[in-house]
């Protein structure tokens, strides 16, 4: 029997352009949120996507779960081309591809009890569960995210932020998915709760054999939690670290690392060299988007976009002057 392919998800040439208009009669302008992304997501691993505002990480997440349709490119999930699927087929596939959002409060209807919220995915999928089975499902999902079963009758406003995010995760698990896209699932939580949620995600991954795409702005967290790290800047992948401790070669990744403060006063960073602002995604420069902030940039960088080149170790860098 053939082994399943190593990669659960393959992304090729993915791009997304948003058109917007300033005012009713204003000129329309387009925003390239994601450009030319090629990415393989290996089974059973945590692939981290890290970057700052406007880097396209959340757009990428929404494209992968097909909450957004790409402007160009292709996404293949377990050998199936998502672009070729009818709406009905896509709805069935969604059982295997789920998303956890940053703000669990806005993801759950405030008038729903926890039990209602956990059963909503079945409703959406047009599955009617007999009462006893529904109760068992709710109890099983609450167990899975380590919440007490008595919580089934609570409303979202009665829960803490951490409990709400556990409900968000439980909902995503309702159909025993293969693949979870986690879009900043801990960004609005206190660190003590963030650590609980990360620990839960680690346990669930081991128990259920899940594959994660983990979106975050926090390089420290991504380096702890992820097997591979994809770094994005203004819509493009600029570097892929094949393992979390790999030394960054792209000047932007280096900058990001230097800006991430370690919880250790003996490791204070020298950040006096850091300058510059992130450019607007509406007015992308012709060449490398990081060139304006980069100490190593030259004419080539400002004229041409560097291609993402992968070496034998799987380390990919899009830079004309990679660091050693």
């Amino acid at each position: 029997m053939a082994e399943p392919a190593r990669d659960l998800v393959q992304i090729r040439g993915l791009g997304k352009v948003f058109e917007s208009r300033k005012g009713l009669f204003g000129k329309s302008r387009s925003l390239k949120a994601v450009s030319a992304v090629d990415l393989d997501i290996p089974r059973g691993k945590v692939t981290g996507v890290v970057g700052e505002s406007g880097c396209g990480k959340s757009t990428l997440a929404r494209l992968v779960v097909r909450l957004l349709r790409p402007s160009e490119g292709r996404i293949t999930f377990d050998g199936v081309d998502l672009q070729q699927q009818s709406n009905t087929a896509m709805r069935r596939l969604r059982r295997r591809i789920q998303m956890v959002f940053q703000d669990p409060y806005s993801a759950i209807d405030p008038r729903y009890t926890v039990a209602d919220a956990l059963l909503e995915p079945f409703q959406v999928q047009g599955i009617r569960l007999p009462a006893a089975e529904a109760r068992a499902k709710v109890a099983g999902l609450l167990d899975m995210v380590r919440l007490g079963r008595e919580m089934a009758g609570s409303y979202p406003h009665q829960l803490s932020g951490g409990q709400r995010q556990r409900i968000g995760i439980a909902r995503a698990l309702a159909f025993k998915p293969d693949f979870l896209v986690l879009d900043e699932p801990t960004a609005s939580l206190d660190v003590s709760i963030q650590a609980q949620i990360i620990a839960l995600l680690e346990q669930l991954k081991a128990e259920l054999g899940l594959t994660y795409l983990f979106i975050s702005h926090d390089l420290g967290l991504v380096r702890y939690f992820c097997d591979r790290i994809v770094v994005m800047y203004l819509g493009r992948v600029v570097e892929i670290l094949p393992e979390p401790r790999a030394k960054p070669r792209h000047p932007y990744t280096r900058t990001l690392l230097e800006s991430t403060f370690a919880p250790d006063p003996n490791q204070r960073r020298d950040i006096s060299r850091l300058t510059g602002e992130i450019a607007s995604a509406y007015e992308l420069p012709a060449g490398c988007a990081f060139a304006a902030r980069c100490a190593f940039a030259d004419e080539t960088c400002r004229a041409r976009v560097p291609e993402l080149m992968t070496d034998a170790s799987g380390h990919a860098t899009a830079c004309f002057h990679p660091l050693n």
Partner: protein, 322 residues
């Protein structure tokens, strides 16, 4: 005597008592970190020092806030107003709460020095542009004429810092000044604040939930939990040998280099809301070192033989048993 000394501060907001016996001191040229999770009382402490509690219907119930020899809790509102913005500056998390959206940013910075230092329009503008350059705002003379919404978040926060510096204050209270910013911008702003303290000898109270920011910037640290001080010490001691179980657990929640997978555990439960503070030590339901005494008796903040102060029965028991 330190420039700012807060002692045994307790406040009352409509019968609720969110702060209980907060104390700390900060001197010129020093950065004090007030650290804690949401609901720890960090921002209320800032509002108390600024004398702004009446804005939210609160008042100081007990304790003292001494600034450069003056007892702030005894000052009238006009007297406080002369201090605020002039000698004590406040930087908030969201720059848009401090900026007027329909006024050019330069004019907003000018206002501060015109009001507090009595400068004329020309002198104020020159001073503002100078400050903006100091804060590494590129093309400061042009940005001076911009409106806030034309600027990025990081630039807006620099304008707010320029406003804070404009009257040459002795003390700056910065409440999560970089929380809303991207990390590369946060790093630049923190660097600027550290330089200001070193070069100008300002005292800075840096309120943050981010232990990385604390480790990078602060000299001393006060860890707050549910409206009380859990522990205070120098930044080196806090990270090298945290004593309070909450401080230890909080540091353990931050991923750091070399941490094995699965070693991030978090702290069970969540921070209690003001209305439901547990009796005794407020951390006791989440604590891994809890003693029978803890849910009954509030642990006093005790000076440790080596350095720092800790409010914990378990630590006190260990210290007294040598």
């Amino acid at each position: 005597m330190a420039l700012l000394e807060v002692r045994d501060l307790s406040i009352d907001i409509a019968g609720i008592k969110p702060l209980d016996g907060i104390g700390f001191a900060v001197d010129r040229g020093q950065i004090l970190g007030l650290v804690g999770e949401s609901g720890s009382g960090k921002s209320l402490t800032a509002l108390s020092v600024m004398g702004l509690l009446p804005l939210i219907g609160g008042r100081v119930e007990r304790g003292s806030i001494r600034f450069d020899g003056a007892e702030l809790t005894q000052l009238s509102e006009p007297e406080l107003r002369r201090l605020r913005g002039r000698r004590i500056a406040f930087i908030t998390q969201n720059p848009m709460t401090s900026l007027d959206p329909v006024m050019r940013v330069g004019a907003q910075i000018d206002q501060v020095s015109r009001l507090h230092l009595g400068l004329d329009a020309k002198a104020a503008a020159a001073r503002s542009i100078g400050l903006m350059e100091r804060l590494r705002i590129p093309a400061a003379a042009t940005v001076y004429h911009h409106y806030p919404q034309e600027l990025s978040g990081g630039m807006k926060q620099r304008i707010v810092i320029a406003m804070a510096l404009s009257a040459d204050p002795d003390l700056i209270i910065a409440d999560e000044p970089t929380t809303a910013l991207d990390v590369t911008i946060q790093a630049q702003i923190i660097q600027l604040l550290v330089e200001l303290v070193r070069d100008r000898g300002v005292a800075l109270v840096l309120i943050t939930h981010d232990m990385g920011v604390v480790a990078q910037a602060c000299d001393r640290v006060v860890v707050l939990y549910a409206g009380r001080v859990a522990e205070s010490n120098s930044v080196r001691e806090i990270f090298a040998s945290p004593r309070h179980p909450y401080t230890k657990a909080l540091i353990g929640c931050i991923p750091r280099d070399g941490m094995a997978p699965g070693s991030l555990a978090g702290i069970p439960g969540s921070v209690p809301s003001v209305a439901r503070y547990p009796a005794g030590c407020r951390f006791n339901p989440r604590c891994s070192e809890v003693l029978p005494l803890c849910p009954e008796v509030v642990p006093p903040l005790e000076r440790m033989p080596s350095s720092g102060e800790v409010a914990c029965h378990a630590v006190a028991a260990k210290v007294s048993h040598g």
